[in-house]
């Protein structure tokens, strides 16, 4: 802005309009400044004023004049076409074009502030030890490194130094209210940076934080919110009495209905209503909707908390030191309780109250329940429950992030190498238990869990179905993309140049990658090859993009191990068998899921329907409300999927049959 001093006529007009300045010579204005739209305003310090000649929409269909009315302004730069009305104190802020500030008690920057960047939060371990510093570009993957690799002090120090540099860049004695932001009917906002197009309506208190809003995906803060020492990334909405302290809110998050959180981080697409979170690392899609639900000292992702879910992180010994990990896709049933330390495997449902510490990470897709006070696990049972299938297909569709820059990298594949690696270990474990357990033993104990001996072989068979489906579906996709006339050409195209690798994969808070690739990244950090947060983010992006190739390398290695032959020696006939297995097992698995879905329509599910009628009324009422099994959209989709699997497999088998050698 090219600025000039006010002329004497303008000062006179301003004074006639009820304005006052500590020193008019420090109030500078743009060339076309019109004093008419500055009324009853008190100016302190250096103030810069733009052109306020336009009108602005303050609510849908409600337009008001730009300008400054009934407010006190100190040391501010106010751009063109801003409306500021009834703001008690506006101190040390740059207000960008098109912003509206109305009925705000105080909006003030005190001292130098990083606006929440660099705040330390104690996740997982409530007593500290996994302290992480939050900032407005934090990703779930970076958080994972900081929280879980504390033993790599050199690497942690490197990242800490980068965060320090970044926070210093963000440090300022002046805040920013971004273009077209709306701040209305609020209490005190102190040391808060507000990004473009953010909306803050009715917040009680916001202190030391950043709302990293963008035009494509604004941040919205609603009534009654109190937030201290916080970061909120783009597209997140927080409303209705939420209380946050030392908390990070990632992209596309929804918090409301008096939810409270302390020392917690919520990454992409999390939802928190009614309940409480303390020292929680909530990976993508962590959802808690109910009152009396406490999430404490744990890591979750793709998680759904049943009402009154609860956990304990100490037992009146050395303090709240214990932690829990619920791997992706885990769920807790209503009234469930877990005693930390404890680890729940991927896509596992926990039902009941568990007073024992257990590690179920090598038995994914399980049911964990309580029988006679003991924790029992039924491995693999969740493979063919309708919830697993429904959840895994709904998450990609529910990614609500609209910001072009997505901080968290998320892989959604259900049968990915991380989980399938656990399934393979589960198979080994069950095999060992089958071999080592005499028939007269009814129950087997392993890692704090009880398993019924009878189920060992059965559950192993279910895991085997998953392995065959995982191999087949990856193989089918690759074969479909290699339309050659000879088997040799197909095989060569699908060969892994760098060699296949059946290595361990990890779930980096939503991003799936071989552990060795993560180790390479950590080495690059320690060696100084990665020098700033942007380069580190690029490396996570590389890992994200490498998924398809790495996944195929893992699948090829798995095929090689199971068939005892290298890919280069693989025969057409062997691949045909794998496709045939996929056809059979994938269709079988879906049929088992359909059977589970059908239970939702059986007689037991109709209890409470047709309250004043006979059997006929009950059925009619149920059908009117729930529809029929055959017409259910999920059922219909699953049947369609089976038809498609059969068609794809048949087409591939026919093509393979006709290939020349």
């Amino acid at each position: 802005m090219l600025l000039r001093n006010l002329c004497s006529d303008e000062i006179t007009q301003l004074e006639n309009q009820g304005c006052w300045a500590e020193a008019w010579e420090t109030v500078r204005v743009v060339d076309h400044f019109n004093p008419h739209r500055i009324q009853r305003v008190r100016f302190y310090g250096a103030v810069e004023l733009g052109d306020f000649s336009a009108d602005i929409e303050v609510e849908a269909g409600v337009r008001r004049a730009c300008g400054i009315y009934d407010s006190t302004i100190q040391d501010c730069r106010i751009a063109d076409n801003v409306r500021i009305a009834d703001v008690g104190e506006l101190v040390r802020y740059t207000i960008e074009t098109g912003a509206v500030l109305q009925k705000v008690d105080s909006l003030i920057v005190v001292g130098d502030s990083t606006f929440g960047n660099g705040i330390e939060i104690d996740v997982l371990n409530e007593g500290g030890g996994r302290t992480m510093r939050i900032f407005d570009r934090l990703s779930a993957q970076l958080a994972y490194c900081l929280v879980h690799y504390r033993h790599d002090s050199e690497m942690v120090a490197c990242i800490e130094a980068m965060i320090t540099d970044y926070c210093l860049e963000r440090q300022s004695s002046r805040g920013v209210i971004g273009s077209s932001a709306r701040i209305e009917r609020c209490g005190v906002l102190r040391n808060v940076r507000v990004g473009p197009f953010a909306e803050i309506r009715g917040a009680v208190e916001l202190a030391n934080g950043t709302l990293a809003s963008v035009e494509a995906d604004p941040v919205r803060i609603g009534s009654g919110v109190i937030a201290r020492d916080f970061i909120v990334q783009s597209g997140s909405h927080i409303s209705d009495g939420v209380m946050l302290t030392h908390t990070f809110v990632g992209q596309g998050v929804r918090l409301g209905k008096q939810f409270s959180a302390e020392h917690s981080a919520f990454f992409a697409n999390c939802e928190g209503y009614h309940g409480e979170a303390l020292s929680v690392l909530a990976g993508p899609y962590t959802v808690t909707h109910h009152k009396s639900t406490l999430l404490i000292a744990a890591q979750f992702s793709f998680f759904n908390a049943g009402s009154n879910s609860n956990q304990s992180n100490h037992m009146y010994k050395l303090g709240p030191l214990h932690q829990g990990i619920l791997e992706r896709g885990a769920k807790t049933g209503s009234g469930s309780y877990l005693l930390w330390p404890c680890r729940v495997g991927a896509f596992t449902a926990v039902i009941g109250k568990h007073a024992a510490n257990f590690d179920a990470s090598e038995l994914p897709f399980s049911y964990i329940d309580v029988q006679d006070g003991k924790t029992f696990i039924t491995p693999a049972m969740n493979l063919f429950t309708v919830g697993t299938k429904r959840d895994s297909s709904k998450w990609p569709q529910r990614d609500r992030r609209k910001d072009a820059e997505k901080h968290d990298r998320i892989h959604f594949d259900l049968f990915n190498p991380y989980i399938m690696g656990r399934v393979l270990r589960g198979i080994d474990l069950l095999d060992q238990l089958v071999q080592n357990t005499p028939r007269e033993h009814e129950i087997v104990k392993v890692k704090g869990l009880h398993i019924k001996r009878l189920l060992l072989k059965t559950c192993r068979k279910y895991y085997e179905i998953a392995v065959q489906v995982a191999i087949g579906q990856a193989l089918a996709v690759k074969l479909e993309a290699a339309p050659h006339d000879s088997w040799r050409a197909v095989r060569d195209e699908l060969a892994i140049e760098t060699g296949s690798n059946l290595e361990e994969w990890i779930d980096i808070c939503g991003l799936l990658a071989p552990q060795s690739r993560m180790q390479e990244l950590l080495v690059a950090l320690r060696s100084g090859e990665i020098t700033d947060l942007e380069k580190l983010d690029d490396r996570f992006a590389d890992l994200y993009r490498a998924y398809d190739n790495s996944n195929w390398s893992w699948i090829v290695a798995l095929i090689e191990k199971r068939l005892g032959i290298s890919w280069n020696g693989m025969e057409n006939e062997q691949v045909k068998q794998l496709i045939q297995q996929w056809r059979d097992q994938a269709i079988k698995l879906n049929k088992m899921i359909l059977m589970d879905a059908e239970k939702e329509f059986d007689v037991n599910s109709r209890i409470g329907y047709g309250v004043d009628g006979n059997r006929e009324t009950i059925d009619a009422d149920f059908t009117a409300v729930r529809g029929t099994f055959a017409e259910n959209s999920f059922v219909w989709q699953l049947k369609k999927e089976n038809t498609e699997i059969a068609a794809r497999a048949d087409a591939l088998l026919e093509r393979l049959k006709n290939l020349s050698p």
């Binding site: 009878l454 179905i465 079988k588 088992m592 059977m595 037991n604």
Partner: protein, 81 residues
């Protein structure tokens, strides 16, 4: 194996897994609605039948079996094969 023996042993397995008296189990009893078997007990029943008769049943077809008499027929079919 005679069907009557299969019948007797099937009921004995059901009684053991669902913790009830074999004499209380009727042939037309539905595992879920009459005998109260939940999802996990259904898996246990499949596993127990496999062990009792030394057979390996098709997973999805086994879970389709709804009544005691259906289970007897289903298992007898495997034993005949």
């Amino acid at each position: 194996m005679e069907t009557t023996e299969v019948h007797t042993r099937v009921k004995a397995v059901i009684a053991r897994v669902l913790k009830m008296e074999a004499g209380q189990i009727k042939d037309d009893a539905n595992f879920i609605f009459d005998l109260g078997a939940d999802s996990m007990q259904s898996l246990e029943l499949v596993a127990a039948f496999e062990e009792e008769f030394g057979i390996e049943m098709d997973e999805d077809k086994a879970l389709e079996v709804q009544t005691v008499s259906d289970a007897v027929d289903f298992i007898a079919g495997y034993l005949m094969d």
